[in-house]
C-alpha cells in the first residue's frame, strides 16, 4: 500500500514536470477510424463543455486524442512537429494559445478552432487550412432575443471606444432593416462613461454593453447599473456575471452548441471533402439567456420566463 502511494506521488511529480511535447510522445492513434487531435489551452469548464459536446457528436465516426496544456506552455515551439508526427486527419484547437501554437506552423492538416478571442490576430484566412467558430454573437441575436421577451423596444444605445466604432456603424446600418435604431457614443476612457450616457439617455430605451476594455471598469459598470435603473432603461450585457451584478439581461454563448457547430464543420471537411476555407468561420448560434428578476421588478417589468436559462434575484 505504502509503495503504491509513493509510486503514485512519483508519477504525479513526473507528470507535473512533463512539458506538453513530452506528454504527446506517448500518444498514438489506433488504425481504423479517422483521427482527430484536440488541443486545449487551459483547464476551463466552458472549454471542457465544447470538447465534450464535440466528441459526443462524433464518437461513432472518429477516434480522438486530446491534450490539455493546462496553461503550461514550456516547449510549445516543438508542438507543431509533434502534432505532425501524430498525423491526425483534423486538429481542433480550443483556446487562444492552442491556436497560436499551430496556426501557420501546421499547414497541411485542417484545423478547427473555438473559444479564441480576437482570432483575427492569427490571420486564419492567410493559411487556407483553418476554420472555426468565433466568439462573436451577432447583434441581431442579442436584440431579437431581447425583443422576443421585452416587446417592441427599438431604440438602443452603445458606448464604445474607437476600436469598435467601424463595426458598430456597420451593425447600425444592418439593424435598421429590422427597425432597430442604434445610437453610438464614442469614448476612450471609462471616466467619460457618465457624460456619454447622460448625453444619449433621452434617445434610448435600452443600453447595450459590449466587451470593450477601454469603456468598462468596475466604476463605469456600477454607474450604468444604477443610472439605467433610476432612468427606467433596460441594461443589456454580454455575460451572466454582469446580470448577477445588477444588469437586466444577457445573451452569451451556449458552449454545447459550439461543440455541435464544430462537429458539423469536421464532417464537412472529413466526409464531404470541403476545404476549411469553404467551411469558414461562423458566429455563435446557440445562446444562453439570463435575467435579473430584482432589476426587472425595479424597472416595473413583468415578462414570461420560458426559455430563460438562468434567473438571478
Amino acid at each position: 500500500m505504502r509503495i503504491q502511494i509513493i509510486s503514485s506521488i512519483i508519477s504525479l511529480l513526473f507528470l507535473s514536470c512533463q512539458t506538453p511535447t513530452r506528454m504527446l510522445e506517448g500518444m498514438k492513434f489506433q488504425p481504423g477510424k479517422k483521427k482527430i487531435f484536440i488541443l486545449v489551452s487551459e483547464q476551463i469548464s466552458s472549454f471542457e463543455v465544447v470538447k465534450k459536446s464535440f466528441m459526443d457528436e462524433g464518437k461513432n465516426d472518429y477516434q480522438f486524442l486530446s491534450l490539455n496544456l493546462d496553461g503550461n506552455y514550456d516547449g510549445i515551439d516543438q508542438l507543431p512537429a509533434q502534432v505532425k508526427k501524430l498525423n491526425p486527419d483534423l486538429i481542433l484547437c480550443i483556446g487562444s494559445k492552442s491556436l497560436e501554437s499551430l496556426a501557420g506552423k501546421v499547414r497541411d492538416i485542417p484545423i478547427l478552432f473555438a473559444m479564441v478571442l480576437d482570432y483575427q490576430k492569427f490571420h486564419p484566412e492567410k493559411y487556407g487550412n483553418i476554420a472555426g467558430v468565433s466568439l462573436n454573437i451577432p447583434p441581431e441575436t442579442v436584440f431579437y432575443n431581447f425583443k422576443n421577451y421585452f416587446g417592441e423596444i427599438n431604440n438602443y444605445g452603445v458606448i464604445s471606444s474607437r476600436d469598435y466604432i467601424q463595426t458598430l456603424k456597420e451593425n447600425k446600418e444592418r439593424l435598421s432593416n429590422a427597425n432597430i435604431n442604434l445610437t453610438i457614443n464614442e469614448t476612450n476612457s471609462p471616466e467619460d462613461v457618465p457624460t456619454k450616457y447622460e448625453s444619449m439617455k433621452k434617445y434610448i430605451q435600452a443600453l447595450w454593453m459590449i466587451p470593450d476594455p477601454k469603456v468598462i471598469s468596475e466604476e463605469s459598470f456600477l454607474f450604468l447599473v444604477d443610472s439605467t435603473i433610476s432612468d427606467k432603461k433596460s441594461f443589456i450585457v454580454y455575460s451572466e456575471q454582469f446580470v448577477k451584478a445588477g444588469a437586466l439581461f444577457s445573451t452569451s454563448p451556449n458552449y454545447a452548441t459550439i461543440g455541435s457547430q464544430l462537429a458539423i464543420k469536421s464532417q464537412q471537411i472529413l466526409e464531404d471533402k470541403q476545404k476549411p476555407s469553404q467551411v469558414g468561420i461562423s458566429p455563435i448560434i446557440g445562446t444562453f439567456l439570463t435575467i435579473n428578476k430584482t432589476t426587472m421588478k425595479k424597472l416595473g417589468l413583468n415578462i414570461r420566463m420560458d426559455g430563460i436559462d438562468q434567473i438571478f434575484e
Binding site: 441581431e140 441575436t141 431579437y144 452548441t257 455541435s260 448560434i285 445562446t287 420560458d306 436559462d309
Partner: protein
C-alpha cells in the same frame, strides 16, 4: 445523595434485565417498521420530462414546481429530468406515482410504463402544435433535397428524426431553442430549421425583411402538449385524482400560475375525448 436511575437498574434481577432488553428491541423494530411503512406510504414522487419544454432553467422550474405541489401535499417531491437517458436510469429509483410527460415519449412508453392519462396541458386553448421545416434556399423544395445538408433543431436528434420521417442523411445542428435555429438559418449556418409555428410567427415580427425569404417545406404531424399521467408505480390513485382536481385550478393558484407560466402553458384539460385522441 443517591442517583435514582442507577439504583433502579442495580435492583433489577437478571431475568428482568433480559425481558427489558427484549421489549426495547421489539419497540425499536416496530418503530423502524412503522417509519419505513409511513415513508413508503407517504412518498409521492412526480417527474416532469419534456425535452421540447423549458428545460434550460431546470433549477427555477424544479423550485417553482416543488412550491406548487407541496402546497397541495408536503409529501410530494417534484423532479425535472432533462434527458431520456437520465430518465431511464432514474425511473427505477424514484418510482414516480405521477408524471408530466412529453406526448411523443408517452406514446412510446404507455404500455411498458402503464401510463394512464389524467389531463393534458393547454396553450391558448390548444392541446397540440406543429413544427415546420423551413429554409431560405429556394432551390430546396423537399426533405430529400436536404440530404447531407445542415438542419438546425432545438429538439433531441432522435425526436427530430421521428418527427421528420425517420433516419435521414442530415447534419443536425443541435441548438437550445427555436430562436437559435432561426438565427442559424438567417446567418446561413444551417440550410433548414425545424421550428414551432409560434416561433416562426415571433421571428416574422422581429425580422420582417428576412422572413419574406422563408419557405416552409414540411409540417410535422400534430404534436400533443405534455400529459399528466399515472404510472405502473402508482399505488395511491385517490391522491392522483385529488391532484388532478387541484391542478384544474392551477392558473388561479398563486404558486400554480407562476409554475405553469414557467412551463409555457396556460391551463390543463381533463376532457376525456381530447385525452383519447393522443396516440
Amino acid at each position: 445523595m443517591q442517583y435514582p436511575n442507577r439504583f433502579f437498574f442495580i435492583e433489577l434481577r437478571q431475568e428482568d434485565i433480559k425481558m427489558f432488553q427484549l421489549k426495547s428491541y421489539i419497540k425499536i423494530i416496530i418503530a423502524i417498521l412503522l417509519l419505513n411503512f409511513s415513508a413508503y406510504a407517504e412518498e409521492f414522487n412526480i417527474i416532469y420530462f419534456d425535452p421540447d419544454g423549458n428545460l434550460r432553467n431546470i433549477t427555477s422550474l424544479q423550485s417553482e414546481g416543488n412550491k406548487y405541489f407541496q402546497s397541495f401535499s408536503p409529501d410530494i417531491n417534484f423532479y425535472v429530468i432533462a434527458s431520456e437517458q437520465i430518465l431511464n436510469t432514474e425511473m427505477e429509483r424514484l418510482k414516480p406515482q405521477f408524471m408530466i410527460v412529453q406526448s411523443l415519449y408517452y406514446s412510446r412508453q404507455k404500455t411498458s410504463l402503464a401510463y394512464k392519462p389524467y389531463f393534458i396541458f393547454l396553450t391558448k386553448d390548444n392541446y397540440f402544435y406543429h413544427k415546420k421545416i423551413i429554409t431560405m434556399n429556394p432551390e430546396i423544395k423537399t426533405l430529400e433535397e436536404l440530404d447531407k445538408k445542415v438542419v438546425a433543431s432545438a429538439l433531441p436528434k432522435e425526436i427530430t428524426k421521428e418527427l421528420t420521417g425517420g433516419e435521414r442523411n442530415w447534419k443536425i445542428l443541435t441548438v437550445p431553442k427555436d430562436m437559435d435555429a432561426l438565427m442559424a438559418l438567417k446567418f446561413k449556418q444551417a440550410d433548414a430549421a425545424l421550428v414551432a409555428e409560434n416561433s416562426l410567427e415571433s421571428f416574422k415580427k422581429l425580422d420582417p425583411t428576412d422572413s419574406q425569404s422563408i419557405i416552409p417545406i414540411f409540417t410535422t404531424k400534430s404534436i400533443f402538449l405534455p400529459l399528466g399521467v399515472s404510472t405502473k408505480y402508482t399505488t395511491n390513485k385517490e391522491m392522483v385524482t385529488k391532484l388532478t382536481e387541484f391542478m384544474k385550478k392551477i392558473k388561479t393558484d398563486a404558486n400554480g400560475s407562476s409554475f405553469i407560466k414557467m412551463m409555457n402553458f396556460d391551463d390543463i384539460s381533463d376532457n376525456k375525448k381530447t385525452l383519447g385522441m393522443v396516440p
